[in-house]
Amino acid sequence: MSALLEADALSKTYRTAFRRRDVKALDSFSLSVDTGEIFGLLGPNGAGKTTFVKIVLGLVKPTSGSASIDGTTVSDWRSRRQVGYLPENHRFPDYLTARQMLRHYGRLSAGQSSNRDIDRLLDRVGMLRWADTPIRKFSKGMMQRTGIAHALANNPKLIFLDEPTDGVDPVGRREIRELLTSLRHEGKTIFLNSHILSELELVCSRIAILNRGKLVTEGRLDELLQKQTVYAVTSTRIPEQLLDRLSDVQPAPVRASGRGERPDSELSHYEIHVSSRAHLNVVLDQLRREHVEIESIIRNTDSLEELFVRAVDSDGSSQEGIAR
């Protein structure tokens, strides 16, 4: 697959107005998004996600580095011809109806926008019956749906969605997820910025985690989640000397469920951190050789949330000096 969006060593430093303090929002950030994928950019508040999207959309000028969309540098306004964007905290002119708004913004994006196209878009996001209602009467969820329709108004190849499910009820969220999936089937590339990790986990094919302006990790979601698989093992007690030798095996933390070692039981709970099935079997063979009897093995894959927290923690979670 060819890269539709490419960023090379992007850096952005903001200078505060009065204190003349430099704030580094992005630090040599490189990224590549392929055609037809749903890409998720994650990061804590102030990690630089919005700055990155704004640079790519020509709203913010990078301090150094470069980026391009479909081969056109982002400093050229023509690079945005095939781009749709739903910003976070968007504020559409509330005196317009949904139809008027889509007509005006559609014409700004594509030069033309017919009533049939607008109806089709509104129908797609479940807003057709509100087409002629002023936007000021919309709820947050309706606003988000209309915003998504706006991002699709010019039939873009690349769609940036910043917190698209913000304020949307669970049923609406599922509909938006289905819409994103169907857009991907149509060959669209979707770039998602979201804090709702469970949502991203359900739709993204690839993710990147950004922290303090730097790329912490990036890759296919399934690969990242399987990089470190944890097996919960219940067995007879493993001698201390053996545990010291086997760094992959750790006693399971005592949880609310009561899991962990109990003094009155002959069975204990352990966690085996391995990267592959073969590695697991090597560890199990060592345990058996030492006469440890295994009661059960359960495979636990990391959730995106655990992956995210670990990635940010390992990078240093202090948010001091982080930009917007």
Binding site: L59, V83, R91, H104
Partner: protein, 288 residues
């Protein structure tokens, strides 16, 4: 071009939806209705009747002037001259009414367009930033042109109905009002793209308008100011906009006399040009 046109329409729609255009229409209507009442006052009626009775050529005595040969000649006020004086005065008042109303109405638009949430939507479109700014400015100017045409048009209609005399150059006044509004709005534009504050942009614009009043008395003030500061004052006269002095040009179009000097209009236009270039540059380089 279509993007600029779309932006122009959005600006127009925003003014309409916020009842600003209706407000401008009502305020302008109040101005010309008030004028109609004023022209119906007995004193005005009497003066007009007096001038009419004496005829348009053989009017009432006005003043004695000396000719080149040194002969003293009696000047007369004709109906044309009388009406022309009233029209000039009214044109001056309308100039300020249109400019102030237009500024009040349009000043919050640009900061709103640049505010977070709206700027992201607009400036992420595949349109050059300058086309968006240009479309917005065109929209605002069109509204002011409509307002000035309505205000001046109604005033002149009242004058024609009252005096049966048609001032042929009235369209010039409308043009002067729009050009001067464009000059005033250039300050709003530059400050808005720099600070996003409509309050600050209005304060500075009104400050420049007040400062320009002092340029009306340039001849007197120049002689009164001490030497080191005189240069500064004269420099400011040439650099800053001459909004107040341009009133004479707007009024001149309504009257019969030729325009004395075009310099205030030209220097103000140059000032506006510099402001718009600076605003366009600032918008093209700033982060949104």
């Amino acid at each position: 071009m279509s993007a600029a046109f779309e932006m122009m329409k959005l600006t127009f729609l925003e003014l309409w939806s916020r009842w600003v255009t209706v407000g401008l229409f009502v305020a302008s209507s109040l101005v010309w209705i008030l004028l109609s009442f004023t022209l119906n006052l007995d004193i005005v009626e009497g003066s007009l009747t007096g001038v009419r009775i004496l005829g348009q050529d053989a009017g009432v005595p006005r003043e004695r002037v000396e000719t080149a040969s040194g002969e003293a000649v009696q000047q007369f006020v004709t109906l044309n001259m009388f009406v022309s004086q009233i029209q000039s005065f009214v044109a001056g008042v309308a100039y300020w009414a249109a400019a102030f109303l237009g500024l009040f109405a349009a000043a919050p638009l640009l900061p709103g367009m640049l505010s977070r949430g709206q700027s992201d939507l607009l400036f992420s479109k595949p349109v050059p930033r300058l086309a968006l700014l240009g479309g917005h400015l065109l929209g605002v100017f069109l509204v002011v042109l409509t307002l000035a045409t309505y205000l001046y048009g109604m005033i002149w209609l009242v004058m024609i109905l009252k005096t049966d005399l048609v001032a042929g150059r009235m369209y010039g006044s409308i043009l002067v009002v729009v050009v001067m509004f464009m000059a005033m709005y250039s300050v709003v534009a530059l400050l808005s793209v720099t600070t996003e504050s409509s309050a600050l942009s209005l304060i500075v614009t009104y400050g420049l308008i007040i400062a320009s009043v002092s340029f009306l008395f340039r001849d007197t003030l120049e002689l009164q100011i001490n030497r080191p500061w005189r240069g500064v004052y004269v420099g400011l006269y040439h650099v800053l906009p001459n909004f107040a002095e341009t009133t004479k040009i707007a009024a001149g179009f309504a009257g019969e006399d030729p325009i004395g000097s075009w310099y205030p209009l030209i220097s103000t236009c140059l000032f506006a040009l510099v402001m718009y270039v600076a605003a366009a540059w600032r918008l093209s380089v700033r982060d949104l």
